[in-house]
Point group: C2
Amino acid sequence: MVDKGLDTQGIKEVEITRIREKQKSREKDFLVREVPLTIFLNGQEFVTLLCSPEKLNYLAVGFLRLEGLLKCSEDLQEIAVDTEAGKVFVRVKMPPDQPKKMYGPRAVTARLGKGTLFAQSLHLLQGRRVESALQVKAAELFALMAVLQKTSVLFKKTGGVHTAALAVADKILFYSEDIGRHNAIDKIVGECILKNIPFGDKILLSSGRVSSEIIIKVAKLGLPMIVSRSAPTSLSVELAAKMGITLVGFVRGRRLNVYTHENRIFL
Amino acid sequence: MVDKGLDTQGIKEVEITRIREKQKSREKDFLVREVPLTIFLNGQEFVTLLCSPEKLNYLAVGFLRLEGLLKCSEDLQEIAVDTEAGKVFVRVKMPPDQPKKMYGPRAVTARLGKGTLFAQSLHLLQGRRVESALQVKAAELFALMAVLQKTSVLFKKTGGVHTAALAVADKILFYSEDIGRHNAIDKIVGECILKNIPFGDKILLSSGRVSSEIIIKVAKLGLPMIVSRSAPTSLSVELAAKMGITLVGFVRGRRLNVYTHENRIFL
């Protein structure tokens, strides 16, 4: 790898060795950028996320919304992003000791699971059901997902990102890309919060697999429908069924699978 | 979704609605299972991971190894898995307050990033370089990745899992599948620890994207090479270059990209 110095926002140009059969060559290639972003909450270092360096304000707000640290744009007193340093400074209305209370030594993980936060989330969502009169045509979902795929600039160049979008039946409202499935969704959520867009009549589109944590996010926001290009898991299907969420997967070309609450989808 | 009651270890059979163009039908489908696994460390609840319900002992040991809570099989005093309850009880040699020290309130995240653990990991690995005389033919990598893909039973049935394997040039030693990229790798690591297999002359194979956290895992283990079907990020390439790790990506058919330390690969 030779760093070519070119380092545009989302993509880095490098020189790599490509092997095809028994041929070796040095060629130009594009890597998706990954950067650490540290969120400072009310003056204290709070968390470091690894992400694509775009829409960092949305990522921070979406992350904090989904972690329960702010509810709406009125809770947000100040937000300042230092892209160069990979830092975002957020000030929200809350008691000064709340972050410590929420993040005890057990609430730790690196991956899919959120430690006991997972159990806590499930408990908090117990008995909640998303109620929504949303109705969409299958053909509209085919069209939305086709647009989602076409819009993905970084994916085309690097093959290394996930995409997410918030949509209504006939158009995509907000769109994001990130190296992380969760980050891409959080960016969409942050943008909605900052623009005061309600979730209750919208559709979340995702390129990534739908695990239980994604469904928990969808439920927290009161979104009635998630539509993915990829597979759901057994637990995500169980949770979506319980929580009144329409879960659509494997949307490819003119085909899709409806796993739960198909009453919101018609032909 | 209708739960058909069939619930084999890794796959759940359900009935779903499939839409093709303007045709709707009820069909049988298979979901990859996702379950919570809570790790109890020296009697205390430690973390809950969401994972595929196989090789849970390997997952727990691999996770603890990579979090620095055990170094080798001698540190492990006891391990008991309760698959039904989704619990694994691990007893390791360490001072009783160590987990609390390692997991302060900041060391929190849900996704790619490990909060300040990321910075800590980088700091700990500073100046470390993987030294290994490993040499592999490109044709051997093509063959290994072809086997990795063929072996994936769950992926074929559900499209929803990642695979990982530990290999030498001419064969795969251990193989794992999981809904999580990280879990699949941790399972391989746990199996090696329990079987006292050294990492320094081996190759890690992965179906998933290579983010910086994956490279940090590889560096912690002293593995000289990671080979993936998917894309790396800019940060993973930078770290692999610094840490002496050969990073190979986009292995598809008879093609591959070498991003760093290509001296270990010959034609």
